[in-house]
Assembly symmetry: C2
C-alpha cells in the first residue's frame, strides 16, 4: 500500500461515508467552540446498541479514548477487529445492552465520520486540515449533548469512559449535571499533567517533523505522514503499559533469533511489538486528528475552568464511581483521588475503586475482573435508584 | 545555520580534531569487539584533571552517560557551557582533583573524538556510518582499559559514573576486578529493561524516519537528520525527569501568554522547554552516534553474559558504593537493589545509598547534597584503605 493509496482510502471510506449512523447539524445549529468560533455545518457519527425504553431513561453514553472511536461493540469497519470494549458492553455484559441503550459517538476532531481535520471544509471543498478550530474536551461534550438532544434524551442514565473518555465523563458531569444520573470516569484526571502534555508534544513534533505532513495539507499532495505518526504512536504506546507488564510480557526476549544480530534490526520482541503498534495504527488513524485529540487533552483542566475542582461539582446530584489502576503511571491514582476529594467536598455521592493490576493505563480496555464487577455493581445500584429494574429485562 | 553547515561543522570540529587529548591505537593494537570483529585503527579522545601520583594509585576513571562526553570539568568546546559534572569533580569537590588524577574518555561510538560512526573509516576515506560494528558497553570498557594501559596505570583507584556511565562501572568491575579498587555505579542497572529498550527504539525510529538520515549516509549528502534526532531527544528527556519535578517546575503554566492560543504553538512552558532540549541537542550530537550508544545500552545484560549477576562479581575485592534515586523511574531503585544483592551474594564490600529526591534520573548530574556527601565519604574511606591519605594533599 503506497502512501497515496492509504490516504485516499482512509479519508474516503470512513471520514466521508462512515459505516455508522450519522447526525448532521446544519447552519441553524452551529457548535459554539471554546476557540471562540461557531462550527457549522458539522457531523457526528455514532453507534447504538440495545433499545431505548419508553421513557428514555436507560441511555448510557460511552465516551471513547484518544484514538478510540464509536465502534464499541461491533466489528471495526477498517481493522476487522472486535469492538474496543466488547469485554464491557453487550448482552449480559456489565454495561448490559439487554437493559441499557448504549450510545457512542466519534469525538469532534476524530477521523471516523465526526467532523475532524480530515473532513471536507464546506467553505473550500478541501479537507479542513489545520483550518479546523482547535477542539477542547468541552467542545466534544457540547457536540455529544447536541446528539443526545437529537435523540430526544433529556437525561443520560450513565456516562462512562476511560482515559480521554473519562475526561469527557467529568466534563459532562460539570457542564450538564442535571443530564447525568450517574458517571463513571475510569483511569482519568481532571487536568492533563505536565508529563502528559510533554508526551503529547513529542508525538505532535514527530508528526510535524515528517516532511509528508506538509503543514497539515498532506491530502492535497496525495501523501500522509505515516512515519511520523508511527513514531508518535510508539512513544505513546509505552505510556499505556506498565514497566512491570512490559518486563513480564517481553523482558529482554529476542524476536525469532537465538542471539543478538549486532544491528539496528528489531532484535528484541519489545521492538518488534512497538513497530507493529506504529504501523497498524497509521492504517486506521489520521495524523491531523492525532494533533487535535492530543491537544484537546492538553487543554483539559476543569479546576481552571471553574475556579476549583470542588466548585465544578458543587451540589451535583450525579452518582459517581471513580476508577483507577495501581500500575497506571499516565493517569495515576493520585489524579483520581483528587477528583474524589473534590466530589466529596461538593457533597456528591461517590465511590472510588482502585483496581490492583500490573497492566498499566490500558487496563481499562482489558479483562480486569475487579473493573468489570465494579461497573456491574455500580450500574445495578444506580438502576435501582433510577427505578430501572422493572423496565430492565 | 543550515543542515549542511551544521553537518560539516560538527563532524570536522570535534570528530576529527577534538579539543582533547587523543590516544591513537594502530594496526598492532586492534580492539576486539563483541560483534566479532577487530576494530583497527581507532582513536580515544579524553580529558584528565589533577596529577597522577608517583605510584599511579590515585587515578579515578569517570564514565559518561549516553550523550555525555569527556568534558567533565572544563568548558565544553562546542556548547561553551561548564563541564557536565563540575558539581562533583574539581579542586575540593567530592571527586577532588587536588587528590585524585581524574580521567574521562569519550565512549566508543561517540562523536567527540573517539572513534564512532561519524569518524572517517580509513578503508573508504568516508565516515563509517552504519559500517561501524555495533558497539557494546563491554567494547566501550575494553577500549577504556587500553587507554588506561597506555597511561601506564595498573589499577584504578575508583571507577564512577551515572546511568550508562554506571553500566560501564559495573562492566569494569566484572571484566577487570583486579584493576578496580573501588566502584561507584549511580542510577544504573545491570541490564536494560524492556521499557527502556522501548524508549530507545522510539528514539532510533524517530531518527531513521527522518528522510535526511539517508540510511545513515547523511554526511555524504550534506545533510543531517536534525528533526528526527530532536524528536528522539525530546522523548528521552521526559524519561530523565520525574512526574513530580515536571509538575513542580512547569505544571500547566503557559509560556509568555495569558491564555491558550487554541493552536499547536508551544502554549505550555513544558512544550517550549522540550523543544529547546531537542534543538540544543542536535547542535552537539551526531544522529548515528545516538543509534550506537542507545543500542549499546539495550544489549547490556551482565547476568546474561556471566550466567548470573552473582557470578559476575563472585570473589571480587572491589569496594562498591551503589547509588539510586527515589524518583528515578528509568533506573529505579529496584535495579540498584538487584546489583547490591548480587554483590552481597558474591561476598563483596558494598554500601547502598538511596537518595531521596524528586528530581528523577537526572539527579545524578545535579546538586544533590546526599549524593555529594556519599561520594566524598566513600572515596575518603577507600583512600584510607588504599593508603592514599599521605599522598593526598
Amino acid at each position: 500500500m503506497s502512501s497515496s493509496e492509504a490516504a485516499s482510502d482512509l479519508r474516503l471510506r470512513e471520514v466521508d461515508a462512515p459505516q455508522s449512523q450519522v447526525a448532521h447539524f446544519g447552519a441553524d445549529q452551529p457548535l459554539s467552540m471554546d476557540a471562540g468560533v461557531d462550527l457549522s455545518p458539522f457531523t457526528i457519527a455514532y453507534q447504538t446498541y440495545g433499545t431505548l425504553n419508553a421513557d428514555k431513561s436507560n441511555a448510557v453514553l460511552i465516551c471513547h479514548a484518544l484514538t478510540g472511536d464509536q465502534h464499541v461493540a461491533n466489528v471495526h469497519p477498517v481493522t476487522g477487529k472486535p469492538g474496543w470494549w466488547e469485554i464491557m458492553v453487550g448482552p449480559g455484559k456489565p454495561i448490559d445492552t439487554d437493559r441499557y441503550f448504549v450510545i457512542c459517538s466519534n469525538v469532534l476532531g476524530g477521523c471516523m465520520g465526526t467532523t475532524g481535520p480530515a473532513s471536507i471544509n464546506p467553505a473550500t471543498g478541501r479537507p479542513w486540515g489545520l483550518d479546523l478550530p482547535v477542539v477542547t474536551i468541552r467542545d466534544m461534550v457540547r457536540a455529544q449533548a447536541m446528539l443526545i438532544d437529537r435523540l430526544g434524551i433529556d437525561q443520560l442514565f450513565c456516562v462512562a469512559g476511560g482515559s480521554m473518555g473519562g475526561m469527557q465523563v467529568l466534563q459532562w458531569a460539570a457542564s450538564y449535571p442535571q443530564r447525568v444520573f450517574s458517571a463513571m470516569p475510569i483511569a482519568a484526571a481532571a487536568r492533563h499533567s505536565s508529563q502528559n502534555i510533554a508526551f503529547h508534544e513529542v508525538g505532535r513534533q514527530a508528526v510535524m517533523a515528517d516532511p509528508d505532513w506538509r503543514a497539515g495539507r498532506y491530502f492535497d499532495h496525495g501523501v500522509r505522514p505515516l512515519k511520523g505518526l508511527a513514531v508518535a504512536r510508539m512513544a505513546a504506546h509505552i505510556t499505556y503499559l506498565s514497566d512491570e507488564a512490559l518486563q513480564r510480557k517481553f523482558g529482554r526476549k529476542l524476536q525469532n533469533r537465538a542471539a543478538p544480530t549486532f544491528s539496528f534490526d528489531a532484535d528484541f520482541q519489545i521492538e518488534s511489538y512497538l513497530r507493529h503498534q506504529g504501523s497498524s495504527f497509521v492504517a486506521r488513524f489520521d495524523a491531523n486528528s492525532y494533533l487535535y485529540v492530543t491537544r484537546a487533552m492538553d487543554y483539559f483542566d476543569i479546576a481552571e475552568d471553574y475556579g476549583s475542582l470542588a466548585k465544578a461539582f458543587k451540589g451535583t446530584r450525579t452518582r459517581f464511581c471513580v476508577v483507577s489502576f495501581t500500575s497506571d503511571w499516565l493517569f495515576p491514582t493520585s489524579e483520581s483521588r483528587a477528583v474524589v476529594h473534590a466530589l466529596n467536598a461538593g457533597g456528591a455521592a461517590v465511590s472510588f475503586v482502585e483496581v490492583d493490576t500490573d497492566k498499566g493505563h490500558d487496563a481499562f480496555l482489558l479483562d480486569e475482573p475487579d473493573l468489570l464487577a465494579a461497573t456491574r455493581g455500580f450500574l445495578d445500584s444506580a438502576a435501582r435508584a433510577r427505578g430501572l429494574m422493572g423496565a430492565a429485562r
